[in-house]
Symmetry: C2
Subunit: 221 residues, 2 copies
């Protein structure tokens, strides 16, 4: 019975995800579903990318199980954010995204959807996004693509965060890429953001997103 209910839930979710896709397309929005484990650096990544994406409106739909710490932080930095609290739920679903997008009220923009910190459940729920970005942090370890296969199979692009800690934690980049390439063709952008003045690799990832946005725009015009 549990399995049947889950199937029904996922089918209902898929229907709303399709509506979200149409909504984003009509408004010329590139929607990026940003997933990752707790503490993988998702909010810091959004903050750094938003500063680089000059000339494009950026908004954030911020998913958390309870608090508004991340949305408050982004708002304080001048990044338009709408908070969704999942009330304990371990992932965002398509239904709550529409409300978050309506509150942002953006058009011709990149909208980051910061999912709940979880390397498992979000990979089951299509949100109607255009791009699935995974923040995988170096201190989590190079074996994660071997252990969290559904998530690493699900994503389009990886931001390997906290790369400044590679040596301190003995991160084996070859092993990480071996595990990833076994299940995914996602390119990897290595980044490190210690503070605004001490960051590496953000430009390349911002350019990648800008290209995706411009390509989508061509389709819209």
């Amino acid at each position: 019975m549990e399995v049947i209910i889950m199937k029904q839930l996922l089918e209902a979710n898929e229907k709303v995800a399709e509506e979200n896709r149409a909504y984003f397309s009509t408004r010329h929005i590139l929607a990026v579903n940003l997933m990752g484990a707790p503490g993988s650096g998702k909010t810091t990544l959004i903050s750094a990318l938003a500063k680089k994406l000059v000339g494009i409106d950026v908004g954030v739909i911020e998913g958390d199980i309870a608090s508004s710490i991340d949305a408050d932080r982004l708002q304080a930095e001048g990044i338009r954010s709408s908070q969704i609290n999942t009330c304990g739920e371990c992932h965002l679903d398509a239904r709550v995204i529409r409300d978050g997008a309506d509150r942002l009220n953006l058009a011709a923009a990149i909208v980051f959807i910061e999912n709940v910190g979880n390397l498992i459940c979000p990979a089951e729920f299509d949100l109607g996004e255009n791009l699935r970005l995974l923040a995988a942090s170096v201190p989590e370890g190079d074996d994660k693509p071997f252990k969290y296969v559904p998530m690493f199979s699900y994503i389009d692009v990886v931001a390997l965060t906290k790369c400044d800690l590679k040596e301190a934690v003995g991160f084996d980049g070859d092993n990480f890429r071996k595990g990833l390439s076994a299940v995914s063709k996602a390119p990897v952008f290595e980044v490190s953001i210690k503070k605004d003045t001490d960051e590496q690799g953000i430009d390349a990832l911002a350019d990648y997103l800008r290209d995706k946005y411009n390509n989508l725009k061509k389709g819209w015009l």
Copy 2:
């Protein structure tokens, strides 16, 4: 309907958890449910603790969504382990624990149950354990007790892992303890395990577990 199904699931789980509790008690087992985010250092912690708990049999029920990487590693170190694959499920439940315990076939022992790497879902499923240990790693950040309240409320004791990275990531220990103490009375053991010869704080946590085990034993005699 989703809510009703979840309620039924949790009630069924609670019943089996009670049976597990009786099973562990009859066999004089201290069962430790070890939870934590992906990459928080759960397996490394078990490995280090097992070496310190000289004179007590130690076994591990190893929960993963698919692989057997962690159980293989522990077995290679001579630590008796039984693997449970959840087939994608984001947590262990009481039902699968009994099978894992039977395969270990231990008595008068400490059994670590390494839960799936997830800071949300495992906090809903009582396994019939005697103690709930959370591995929270320094690079995850000092704000996690504020953001993952159900988990930090659920646990009995915290191992703050990877403490050697405190300075590198600017971890604010006071903020972490402030968040934790708002929802829990769990003591915090600060540990760091870089290799066998370079570790800090494991003795104190091993002594804490040994005391818990000895106290339980008094009740059994």
